[in-house]
Amino acid sequence: MSVGTVALRIVALAALAFTAGSCIRSEPGRTELRFWLMGREAEVIAQLLPEFEREHPDIHVTVQQLPWTAAHAKLLTAFAGDTLPDLCQLGNTWIPEFAALDALEPLDARVASSSVVQAADYFPGIWETNRVEGVLRGVPWYVDTRLLFYRTDLLRAAGFRAPPTTWDEWARMMAAIKAHQGASRYAVLFPLNEFEPLLALSLQGDSPLLSGGGRRGNFEGPAFRQALAFYVESFRRGWAPKMSNTQVSNVWTEFGRGFFSFYVSGPWNIAEFRKRLPPGVQGDWMTAPLPGPHGPGASIAGGSSLVILRDSRHKDAAWRVIEYLSRPEVQERFHQLTGNMPPRRTTWARASLAADPYARAFREQLERVKPAPAVPEWERIVNEMQAVADEVVRGGLAIDAAPAELDRRVDAMLEKRRWILDHRRAS
């Protein structure tokens, strides 16, 4: 084989790979839609899509599953290689990032003329996470927030009948539980490598965490200061163990043993607790909305959205899928299959959700979820926030110096963003 034929073959192969990547050959008149989903959602979607395809015989949906751990890198690589799908599930904290890449189709006009997707029916905090610089980039599919899981029996043993609604009450209960349970047990678990509990507490205040349209850190504002004070206090008093998740080994076993009585966690743990807690304590746990500084407080607005990719050639078909998956009856089935919490109030009114006692606290909390600042750097910023909090709890950093130190680091991370915003304004 000569060099010439080898080169020819390589070119032919590359061309083949290119055409295979960019379009899937299909029957005439039938739209082939590529839909990327993560984790368990990709498995259960197979049970929801047949009905959609019956209603729309002209659309065929091909599902591809991405593992959560690799999804982010895979999506960015696909963006760089122009191989993004038509429709995708996207964690809502990633939306600002993909909006900055201009990879997402604006959806305002489609929602305005839709009879299914009713913006007012969605929890406002969740809806807001899909809006970047005023433009709607996704439709919430399911929501994730953090609230209290607690041991009713241990709370009662310490002398309390109802869960806390304010920080003061919570602190009193933690002190009583600690006194009752002794030195080797704790009142609450705030894993030191998880940013969610501290972020939820920080979102409860009035001052935003970034200032100037996401140009600089504002962790020196009162909201973060008071949240950090409460958080650090619980470690100083011995209410919370100074531990990371990797050190706990198994939170369900430990919760069952009463190693801690309060745990700030998300909806997936309802199913996990039902499955993994020993039968003896199955009647002794409940969920409650997150307490705030002065009465029930806000929490994180997490979850996944459905987005249409800007380069898709089948946007109308993709929107049909979004509308179908947004119907309350489909969302209810999706909840039954996955345990994921629906983002619409109408769905929550349906029987299976309204009757679940553990879900009730989530329904209440969802009215009070608050979006995090919509900047692409947010994930990095929030990781740094947790690192600084850890330095206060386990290292030698003074609590009064922490917010300024954090702002300094965050400002450095936002340097490029400031440059781009200034640049854009100048041109």
Binding site: L76, A80, A100, N193, S244, S249, K416, R417, W419
Partner: protein, 293 residues
């Protein structure tokens, strides 16, 4: 050009092309990348790409987190490499001893950690070193030592990682050293014994000098490998507690694959490359001075 030279190039050509395409080109591209602030915004539009010359390197040298990461890595190498090679050598000597029974079994058993999956091993080790339920603390308790928070105390996390890495890797060097030991001619030992050399003298003056070249090879490979510490903290501690197990490569991974600052990540890679180059060069010089290589 003669036809032999032409033929030589033709034979070497495909391999050279592959090396150029898959090794040289990416390395040069990475070097170019390290002089820019390539990141997510630059991925969106190249107009957002800035040429920063040595800015990334300067920023790194000013970043306390980078120095911390370098410090942790040097600590890991300085303690882990001698420990690892020492253990390999000791195990190889035991296996090579004529007194050793069931040699094949022990060779396999000691080599087993090298071929086990790190992720699975990490699960077991996390339990072994668990503060409350761990076997290690239970054993220490029997001899009256207070339980140690192995993975939660910033002072103990790195020693635990070193133990894991040494245990996981010593079998590999052991096999190489065992092969070298078995290649030492028996006559050397015989004549040394006839001259009245003790066991220690035979080790010191026959075994070690004969192992010289292999030992320096093993050292270079181990140092280069240990400087690239990543997987052990990634699966055991995720860099914690208090970033005490963040290595240079971990830092690079965060910069590149978590935050998509590829310019910065490339700069880290080249700094680490420089450090490894210096360290291996030092070993080569040391070995040459001793006449071993």
């Amino acid at each position: 050009m003669t036809s032999t030279r032409l033929a030589a190039w033709a034979f070497a050509g495909p391999a050279l092309a592959i090396i150029a395409g898959f090794f040289l080109l990416p390395a040069v591209a990475a070097l170019a990348l390290s002089f820019t602030d390539f990141d997510l915004y630059a991925l969106a539009s190249l107009r957002n790409l800035r040429f920063v010359a040595l800015g990334n390197y300067a920023a790194l040298l000013r970043d306390p987190l980078f120095w911390q990461a370098l410090g942790h890595t040097v600590y890991f190498v300085a303690v882990g490499v001698p420990l690892s090679i020492g253990l390999s050598l000791a195990a190889a000597l035991l296996l090579a001893s004529p007194l050793a029974r069931a040699q094949a079994f022990f060779r396999t058993a000691l080599f087993a950690p090298v071929v086990t999956t790190l992720v699975a091993v990490a699960v077991v080790w996390r339990y072994l070193f668990h503060t409350r339920y761990g076997l290690v603390n239970a054993a220490l308790g029997h001899v009256g030592i207070h339980s140690i928070d192995w993975l939660g105390d910033p002072h103990w996390a790195m020693p635990t990682i070193i133990l894991l890495a040494v245990w996981k890797n010593f079998g590999y060097n052991m096999v190489i050293l065992l092969a070298a030991l078995q290649a030492i001619p028996a006559e050397l030992y015989e004549s040394a014994r006839m001259d009245g050399a003790t066991a220690w003298q035979r080790l010191r003056h026959v075994t070690l000098p004969s192992l010289g070249p292999v030992l320096s090879l093993v050292s270079i490979l181990t140092v280069a490998g240990y400087f690239q510490l990543f997987a052990e903290p990634y699966v055991m501690t995720e860099g914690g507690p208090l970033r005490s197990t963040v290595s240079v490569l971990y830092y690079m991974y965060d910069q590149g694959f978590k935050w998509w600052s590829f310019g910065m990540a490339s700069a880290v890679a080249f700094l680490l490359f420089g450090v490894v180059l210096l360290a291996t060069e030092a070993i080569v010089r040391f070995a040459r001075a001793r006449g071993a290589a």
